[in-house]
Assembly symmetry: C2
Homo-oligomer: 413 residues x 2
Amino acid sequence: MEIAGRFSISARRMSRSIIRELLKLTSKPGLISFAGGLPFPDTFPGERLKSICSDVLTTIPEVALQYSPTEGLPSLRETLKDFLKSRGFDAGKKQLIVTTASQQSLDLIGKVFIDRGDTVVTENPSYLGALSAFKTYGARFLTVDVDRDGICTGLLRKRLEELKTNAGSGNEYYQNMPKFIYTIPDFQNPTGTVISLERRKELLELAEEFDLIIVEDVPYRWLRYGGKEIPMLSSMDTGNRVIGLFTFSKILSPGLRLGWMTAHETIMDKIVQAKQAADLCTSAFTQSIADSFMKKEFMEGRIADNISIYREKLLVMLDSIDEFFPENESIELYKPAGGLFLWIKMPEYIDTDEMFKEAIDRNVAYVIGSAFYPNGGGHNTMRLNFSYPSSEQIHEGIKRLGNLAKDILKERS
Amino acid sequence: MEIAGRFSISARRMSRSIIRELLKLTSKPGLISFAGGLPFPDTFPGERLKSICSDVLTTIPEVALQYSPTEGLPSLRETLKDFLKSRGFDAGKKQLIVTTASQQSLDLIGKVFIDRGDTVVTENPSYLGALSAFKTYGARFLTVDVDRDGICTGLLRKRLEELKTNAGSGNEYYQNMPKFIYTIPDFQNPTGTVISLERRKELLELAEEFDLIIVEDVPYRWLRYGGKEIPMLSSMDTGNRVIGLFTFSKILSPGLRLGWMTAHETIMDKIVQAKQAADLCTSAFTQSIADSFMKKEFMEGRIADNISIYREKLLVMLDSIDEFFPENESIELYKPAGGLFLWIKMPEYIDTDEMFKEAIDRNVAYVIGSAFYPNGGGHNTMRLNFSYPSSEQIHEGIKRLGNLAKDILKERS
């Protein structure tokens, strides 16, 4: 039976995630992988969840095991608003919906805003999962470079001004200008950078000036290992232009598949309709678990524990890089103050795609940086994850990678 | 801020589910609702799930609380293949993916096959959730009437022959012919009908002859209260043309948000890519729970219990209709042999949309049948759910509805 001819245009353009395909190579025995983005399993509060599951199934089985509102359980939605408030963001007039974690939030945003050929602004590089969610709907990417202070708002202004000259007005304007600016302001994936306060203000000013929506994705924000917190775009947003994406995946457990989103009520109305068609509702059982976990005030302690575990791992990685990486002025290390990833720019003449194969031979893996550049580029970059491997693995893995880098630099010199 | 002008074409066409909006009216105190499609909460095995959660969180927290493969946990996938086999369907060459229940399966199928303007064959009437999932992608519906033996395959043949004359050949043919035939062969939603063996054979022959794919949705199949089981299309399918949609929602719990799908490997490849972009993976926690529940061989007992509970409720509804409904030859009752719904055709001159408001006034609710007809029609039909209300509520609710019907018929005579 001929099948391919029946697929939709979207389906024809889909491809398996490069990262997922690379990850298959990393299942080799003895290999140390910095390629994933998984939380450390020891951070999962199994015992506490056990007693919470028992509570939930004793007290509210008829809620937890039943269909639930598309928007999420009312009780959890209140709990999440309180949590955001305690973290400096009063959702106020914004609506809140519970999703099956941020990948679904990204998909719903794509469905609600993007028609084939529409433009979306992304940081360059940016999170692969967001790129592939938006690509499914036919998005084109206007990419704006990231430096150590996050997205370069000066460059963004220039590109927006160019676009505006031919954008027309009214609905035509909205169709021709970017549908939204997608950003990960805190410990960005993959670069680990944080957008400075100054640039956050500029970003919001640009959104106001060019009448644009901002999608703020904050999976790592609460995993800060040093330095001072900078306010969320969502909380600085006076024009109700920011859509906020939040997730339990990095602070509680990705296995629950739970996240949430805040947005202007007119946007939320469409998001709810899109979710109704996509999966009816999120699991009332996992929602009830998360709600109880937060109501028992376990979340702050959990976040604090995660921070101390990941801070230690990051230090091990930085020390190991000091110890094993070649001394070379052209190697740029993006030391993160939080999150799960460390970003390295190798000298221009190094191709990290090529280097990847040798790394696998030497039983160590990373993600090739080029995967995060939607329009090409980044051939000399790599992303290292430090949350999942043990400290011993980090030390040994960085030794292998550092020795490889030394050998390659020697060859080339 | 102007927002609507930024929405995608899909979003502009979305609307809140009519059923969900009607359900809001049914929250009136004292009202007895036959409008939902919810399982009876007493069927939820809370105690067993409590001990299973404890097991899972003790033995495999690092699996259950972590990210998992997009395809689903390997262990659950094997368990589900065994379950299908024990129920007469050897998935054999077909691939199996775990989803967050059938609404997601429907959404993924829409994403993979449907471009704006494409045709999909549905039964007339059909499940609203499927219609809205497909509509999101811009599907047009070729509707084929259902009688007491299910979809009228003779009518379908005629429509397909008409379409074929202008369909062209090669890829053009696939784009012009229906992308698939969507069917609920067992205890259809909303009519409760079962497709006869004869018609199942014809359906498969038509798929072969016109080179079409069939999507077989079987949420209610295992809730049979009488009569003899007829083989699934999936198991009769020698050409690997049938995509099977299965769910835990009606046999275990909708709150877990778990279902699965079987399909040809080329189709599954795209489904997996679409799911990757849509939500990365299904909850490993709820998957582990379902896997353990089935491995402990609790499922068959659960299904048997559901059957005895729902059979009793159906009998109460049928007896109450006998007792309270007006005697009128023009009222057609579709007595189901399984599932959750009973379908009633009122005399042609009755408008059940109009009647609905009076029903709410009299504290009883149903779903207006017209909601299930994608291209209009069914103004004199209604769907009654008997799984959720108690036997007492069924008796009293049918009394109210029957009296209303009597009054309306009297007025009109």
